[in-house]
């Protein structure tokens, strides 16, 4: 569990950048993709794309596999699922607490 929860913060930070969100969406639509292929579709250099892929890799969102001279990136859905799970759990906790606060204030009058 600790690894999952620590990863959530990294996932949120990684996805705070719109370019990285685009990369994740692109990867969601294909099995694998290279930094060059992504750079063709984005108004940034291949080096910049590689940096973003590195950040996504550190957040556990993508994995890289060398195939000959290319590195192919693929999405790991577990990190996103962890982040979504965190949001659902924390959201439910606050719904419960705020409901309790409402009831508390109503009782005080």
């Amino acid at each position: 569990m600790p690894d999952d929860d620590d990863r959530v913060g990294a996932v949120f930070s990684a996805l705070a950048d719109p370019t990285r969100r685009y990369v994740v969406q692109a990867l969601a639509g294909e099995a694998t993709v290279t930094a060059s292929q992504l750079a063709e579709r984005l108004p940034i250099s291949r080096q910049a794309v590689a940096k973003h892929l590195g950040a996504l890799g550190e957040a556990g969102l993508v994995t890289a596999q060398r195939e000959g001279r290319e590195v192919r990136y693929r999405l790991t859905p577990d990190a996103m699922a962890d982040a979504m799970g965190w949001m659902a759990a924390v959201g439910a906790s606050w719904d419960s607490r705020l409901s309790s606060l409402q009831e508390h204030l109503r009782r005080r009058g």
Binding site: M1, P2, D5, D6, V8, G9, V11, F12, S13, L15, A16, A83, W86, M87, V90, G91, S93, W94, D95, R97, L98, S100, L101, Q102, E103, H104, L105, R106, R108
Partner: protein, 125 residues
Amino acid sequence: MQVEREVVLPASAAVVWEAITDEAELSEWFGADVELDPTPGGHGRFVDDDGSVRRAVVEAVEPERRLRFVWWPEDGSGGPSSVELELTDVGAGTRLVVIEAPVAAAGWGQALGRLHARCSTLVAV
């Protein structure tokens, strides 16, 4: 990315502020037991109804407007989050907006830095 919830409460901002900062009152509605020093750098300990315990460090206090703290599971079972509670007078009551987001490494470092500074001044006394 963050979790955001809001509610309009049938009470004045002063009453709601008391409810979210007074540890005796927090203990009545938040969970099983709450200790909180609602000042910048102040410590907190929140025990939920399910027995889970979180430690906290207060980051910002604007009376009747905003309370922000960082909290984390006492048993280390998860990472730190920033929690911000914002109060707005809406005439018939007070709107309370809660935002919780995981803390990036840099933010966590800042909170710990402030805690360390506060502890240092206490020890000096």
